[in-house]
Amino acid sequence: MMDFRPNEDQIQLQKAAADFLSKESTKEVVFAAFDGQDGDSPELYKKMADLGWLALAVPEDKGGLGMGLVEQAVLLEQLGYYAAPGAFFTNACISIPALLALGANDEASAVLDGGKKVAFVIDPEFVIDGHLADSFLVTVNGRVRLIGGSDVEVKPLETIDGTRRAASVEFSEQAGEDLGDVHAVESVVDAATAILCAEMVGGMQKSLDMVLDYVKVRTQFGRPIGSFQSIKHRLADMLLKTEASRSAAYYAAWANQSGADDAALSASVAKAYVSDAAPWVTGQSIQLHGGIGFTWEHEAHLYFKRATMNAALLGDVAFHRERALTLTTSDRSEAASGGGGRSRG
């Protein structure tokens, strides 16, 4: 039955996540991670692992909570809203499902209880959360290998988003253990792409909420600035792009969860759209806050930087536009991995 609304369980999950994160991923925690050594908050990561969140979408017989991608999207939207730092997304949404898809159940269970972190390597020059990883999933000649951290030369990279950093890695192509064909993880990457969009939606929503509060109380020329049409129209556009992004992210999460015909297309559609919209919406938040929005102490820049970072991950706007076009105009099976010669990394 056609129903786009979150169900009761999803609403409860959203509330629980918002309640937890409003206390644990506070502005102080996020800024401390941003200004810290590695952008991480190990305490927050540990607490989320203890809640079972890393294993939210893992089947119960593999030690998870047995929920789906839509629930994972609900959770990640809240992490985005509270700008949660650290390697939660990459481990929960890419590495764990990739290990499971490759049948590496023991490795997966070591990650899902929070004890170990694995980075998924698309481009060795820029591995998101690579600086925090204990081991690495790499692709060599169409095969996926799991390489222990001691066999990988890791060079940490600071990024525009201090809470989401990366590393460049070097490794021998013979190192580690062969886990299987890369085709096994293609749907994992599409699903993760959809979930990343949900995280971006969270940041857009937070930016919109902050601006809305501000323009209702900030007075100039004897009126709240939110009564000026130029401001109102900008906010209307921010809402439009935020809600459209939300529709796209959740549609893609559902399509990938249910194995719909347009699962791959919907992931590319969502990522192309949201990667365009999120930097714009979060950037408008800086603009509409005025001078205060340009200061380090205000949160507006955290969301702008996260959106800018995420826009480039798992394929950028150009990659996913091309892939959407290719999926629409040519044979699906050939096009599924394609991006017209563009790279996802």
Partner: protein
């Protein structure tokens, strides 16, 4: 959250698709009048087979279809590229209004002939001084015995030159606050004193007319609902139609992108086809992506409606999305097709450039009619986001009256 269609939905979709494949006319005449008559015949055929306004109750010629079935029907209708209903304003706007607010005599008298296109309807809302501020209408209707006497002017009247009837907003109490002195009246366009003058639009077509009333006598029986309650009546029936049409709109606009993909392969630029040019591909990819996102948002809106929500001010988001999309898309289409895309003579090689020029120009109307993008943004800001209103110049107004 579950976006799957039921087996029943799928079977219904297959039934609609089969009917349209077998019956929808393919090549309509170019000539405007002949085209109109062909579409009138098509609607007559549809009505005989019970495939117009399927969500209407059976007693008025519909099938009592659910909202979801209506959505599926509209989507399939557009997918089949079946011709636009010639009496779309009667079916889409007048019919639901009469069913909600008309009396039994009015329902019996008008509804069946709306479906069969035996009587064509036009909408008499906008006036030269009442556009975005619709409640500023000045066309006057004064009661004289059993008849109203109409004087004034309507404008931007689609189908004005073909219409047999107009549903009009008229001022019946000039002393009341502006939203409270308006009535909803059915006007016979063949009455003495009615004059419809075609307007020529930037496309060169004449889809609109100006309609002038000089002492036009309208029986009191043609009043819908109560006198001076016309504003409320006009506003309450707009939402449902917008909700049910969104998905079809996404199909229609996606068809345009698919057409552009076809034509871009026929145009050579810089030594390769426009479709092979990376910059063009990026643009086409963008519009494919955005129209797909529009489809998801309409599914979300439909889901809210099906499960008992109201379309509410969120309909404004929908309107901005598709109308701004269409304008920007056609701009890129013109860029991609280059000089050949601007040719308006019949013989322009392999592509239908006349169509692109017309679509490019007509898209400029989408962000104006049925509430400009600017008005829609005001509605979103004030009614969804709760932002303060701007100071107004018309102090007699008791509430916001934008369309």
């Amino acid at each position: 959250m579950d976006l799957s269609w039921t087996e029943e939905d799928k079977a219904f979709r297959a039934e609609v698709r089969k009917y349209l494949e077998a019956n929808a006319p393919k090549d309509l005449p170019e000539d405007e009048t002949a085209n109109f008559e062909a579409r009138r015949q098509w609607q007559k055929k549809l009505a005989e087979d019970g495939w117009v306004a399927i969500h209407w109750p059976e007693e008025f010629g519909g099938r009592g279809a659910s909202l979801l079935q209506t959505v599926i029907y509209n989507e399939e209708y557009t997918r089949a590229r079946a011709p636009l209903l010639v009496n779309s304003l009667g079916v889409g706007l007048l019919g639901p209004t009469l069913m909600a607010h008309g009396n039994d005599e009015q329902k019996q008298r008008y509804l069946k002939k709306v479906l069969s296109a035996e009587e064509i309807w036009c909408q008499g809302f906008s006036e030269p001084n009442a556009g975005s501020d619709l409640a500023a209408i000045q066309t006057r209707a004064e009661l004289d015995g059993d008849e109203y006497v109409l004087n004034g002017q309507k404008i931007w009247t689609s189908y004005g030159k073909y219409a047999d009837w107009m549903f009009a907003l008229v001022r019946t109490d000039p002393s009341a606050p502006k939203h409270q002195g308006i009535s909803y009246l059915l006007v016979d366009m063949h009455s003495p004193g009615v004059e419809a003058r075609p307007l020529k639009e930037i496309t060169g077509d004449s889809l609109f007319a100006e309609v002038f009333f000089s002492d036009v006598r309208v029986p009191k029986a043609n009043l819908v609902g109560e006198q001076n309650d016309g504003w409320r009546i006009a506003m309450t029936t707009l939402g449902f139609e917008r909700g049910a049409g969104g998905l079809a709109q996404s199909v229609r606009l996606r068809n345009s992108v698919l057409d552009l993909i076809g034509d871009a392969q026929q145009v050579r630029r810089n030594g390769w086809t426009a479709f092979d040019d990376p910059l063009s591909r990026n643009k086409i990819g963008k519009w494919l992506v955005e129209i797909e996102v529009y489809r998801y948002t309409t599914l979300r809106a439909i889901s809210a409606l099906v499960h008992g929500g109201s379309p509410g001010p969120e309909a404004s988001i929908n309107k901005i999305f598709w109308s701004e999309w269409h304008k920007s898309f056609t701009e890129d289409a013109m860029d991609i097709l280059g000089p050949l895309g601007r040719v308006t003579t019949d013989e322009s090689g392999n592509i239908d450039s006349q169509r692109w020029v017309r679509e490019y120009l007509f898209a400029r109307a989408g962000t104006i009619y049925a509430g400009t993008s600017e008005i829609q943004r005001n509605i979103i800001a004030e009614r969804v986001l709760g932002l303060p209103k701007e100071p107004r110049g018309d102090t007699k107004t008791e509430k916001a009256g934008e369309r």
